[in-house]
Symmetry: C2
Subunit: 421 residues, 2 copies
């Protein structure tokens, strides 16, 4: 079996000074993996001619496919296109198709938002005469496909939205045509609420019994651990037949904490349960500040089961909008079992949903006390018949406390919904 | 002036198959930059012995400091520690301090969440006898500091929270002691609402007048462009004196679209304005689903000016909680100027705030019509005296439509607040 390896080069000083988080590489890697291409390395270099050139040299020694993103915008800090032209021994020429597309975008789309066609936009129609142009339906910077010494080099713009369109519409189909590709099969079990070491202990016999060509990886996250089995094979169907019984065995071993047999988010799992039950949910959020509602509504079609949320950051909103008793807030405090109980009842009634979820806690860095330190959180999940409670004692920074609370709350809701109709 | 270069190596198959987005590198790069260390390259490799070894060899040729993250967890897919031990010619020995710390964590912290001390946790106390151990106050996997051929190699766990603690408490102070470092000065102007090409046109004379040792970079994002001036110098004060007049000039050139003279988020800018005015805000969100409230509440201390949000995803919530007229929803539709106007008035009253922001739109992929295609959005910003409106026609995917709407809305609110007390 021949493995086709890829390397991803991302270009831009902003990646090296930490101003931008690189999400492009992850998307590209996912798409390559799906068609059986293994990403061997990812590398980020700055807007420095020699560094980019060196990266092209090095990566082409290690990989069959080199994908380059960034450095193709209309402004002057971009040096990638002239460099690529030199690297592959070509010269920059105007491509009529790209030129027409740039003009079209400015005439039909950008003028509505005040964009005027400038000389530098027209320059985007210049491409090295030794490449195949890849049509960028979503923007002005074209993709470029080069071949040299049996290696394929693909240059894509760094704007995520444009890069994605080019990957899906142009790059993936061409790579499938060019290479005879094996199948890479990943099966991921998504667990929540048990530490990496404990899970490892539970599955150690299983792990040591795995054949050498099936890899098990632990991917710990915020309160969750994903367990991934990976197999590369020429025969996809046979590989599926071999990996599935093992994957089922793995799921059985971690069934107490298993959320899904998919590499998905809890918000997706929640949505599937609600759709299957034909039920609705709402949230009353204090410390999570709308983050749970945001997670739920990132899923297309979530309007079928999510009615809304009251983000009650101030106590007066807990009282006036959700109907929490003033005495509860002064007596038990905003971060208490009693308050999340009344928040939950309030939102259930206000939004008339089957289920609801409520959160209240201290996310930090300030606001903690001896009795209720930063990281103290109360969560309630319930319906009109029953309410259950969860208390967390987190010890992270504000951002992670918010994320961890949201995920714990969604998992708590998931369990409640599975147990209560 | 001597430039000290660093290279960051992140280890883990999950990075190469796109299962995890690498946020560690950005944090590390930011911290290094602050103390005058330039990150020359970032590289991600899989859990493959030879690939990690090769990366260490290569990066140590190009950089003075090599920072490695990942591959130090308690489970069996981790191969980094034995590799580092071999690479630097040492052997693994139990470190008493680390052992005591691991035992302490399990006795005092983890037992509360059901964690039991396992053999594999004790193994985390084993470190190569040729390294300096860096204390990980936040977890069981220690950091490690190696020196070889005048290069420094630092190995850190991949869990972001633990890596961050180690960087701030252990790595940065030691690097500052070890190297004589120049200052790297970045000045970033944050603009919103004008395309990269148009901005480039506005500042082209300024750009060409810059001395060669001051770099200008364009960092385009969702509707925004950040303009960054960078200078490396031995004399921080003198460099500040040189760069500031240029930075002021740059701000003046883009003043129509300038949001802040800081590399910050709009949610930070908004918070500063509200604090300065001593005013409060609330949001009524349909299509943004709580994302605006989430952005605002990621800022520590936001409870001083943010009271809450009604996420009114369902029309009945717009009616019952916000008081939008049934006739408005049936007549003009949920995505209309009239609806966001009534949503805004509703939340202003319900939450009793000085300002409010309302959004309603179609984020896709479904729900569009000929008259109101996917990407149609109405935004209202206002106070009790005045309400202003903004209509967007977005053309992205769901996730980006949500993000773009939230940022546009925050910017619209910012402008409204600056013009109206």
């Amino acid at each position: 079996m021949i493995t086709i390896n890829a390397s991803i080069i991302t270009i831009g000083d902003e990646l090296l000074i930490g101003q931008t988080i690189d999400t492009n590489s992850a998307f590209i890697a996912q798409q390559l993996n799906k068609i059986g291409i293994w990403v061997k390395r990812r590398i980020a270099v700055g807007d420095v001619y020699e560094d980019i050139w060196q990266a092209l040299d090095e990566e082409s020694k290690l990989a069959d496919i080199i994908i380059i993103t960034g450095g193709l915008g209309p402004t002057a800090d971009d040096i990638t296109k002239p460099l690529l032209s030199n690297y592959f021994g070509g010269k920059l020429v105007v491509n009529e198709n790209v030129l027409n597309h740039v003009k079209y975008l400015f005439e039909k789309v950008y003028h509505r938002v005040g964009g005027a066609l400038l000389e530098r936009n027209l320059k985007q129609a210049e491409v090295p005469d030794v490449c195949t142009v890849l049509h960028n339906a979503r923007g002005t910077a074209p993709g470029m496909w080069f071949e040299k010494d049996n290696k394929v080099f693909i240059s894509l713009p760094g704007v995520p939205h444009e890069m994605k369109g080019l990957m899906l519409d142009e790059v993936i189909p061409r790579l499938q045509q060019k290479f005879s590709l094996p199948a890479i099969i990943h099966k991921t079990a998504f667990t929540f609420g048990m530490g990496e070491s404990m899970i490892a202990e539970k599955i150690k016999d299983f792990e040591s019994s795995l054949p050498s060509y099936i890899k098990l990886a632990y991917l710990p996250g915020y309160g969750l651990v994903k367990l991934r089995l990976t197999m590369i094979s020429d025969d996809k169907q046979k590989a599926e037949q071999e990996i599935m019984p093992l994957f089922n065995q793995l799921q059985e071993l971690v069934k107490d904490v298993l959320v899904a047999a998919e590499d998905e988010g809890l918000e997706t799992t929640i949505g599937k349960i609600l759709l299957a039950k034909g039920k609705t949910v709402s949230t009353a959020e204090s410390c999570t500040g709308g983050y749970i509602a945001h997670l739920i509504t990132t899923i297309p079609g979530s309007s079928a089961y999510f009615k809304g949320s009251v983000v009650s950051y101030a106590n007066e909103v807990k009282e006036n909008v959700l109907g929490v008793n003033h005495e509860t807030l002064t007596g038990s405090g905003a971060v208490s079992k009693e308050t999340v109980k009344e928040m939950l009842k309030g939102v259930l009634k206000k939004m008339n949903t089957d289920y609801a979820l409520a959160t209240s806690g201290i996310m930090g860095p300030d606001g903690g006390s001896e009795e209720k330190p930063v990281g103290t959180v109360w969560i309630a999940a319930g319906n009109n018949q029953k309410i259950e409670f969860l208390k967390l004692n987190l010890r992270f920074d504000r951002k992670r406390n918010i994320e961890q609370t949201a995920l714990s709350a969604l998992n708590f809701l998931r369990k409640f919904m599975l147990a209560n109709d």
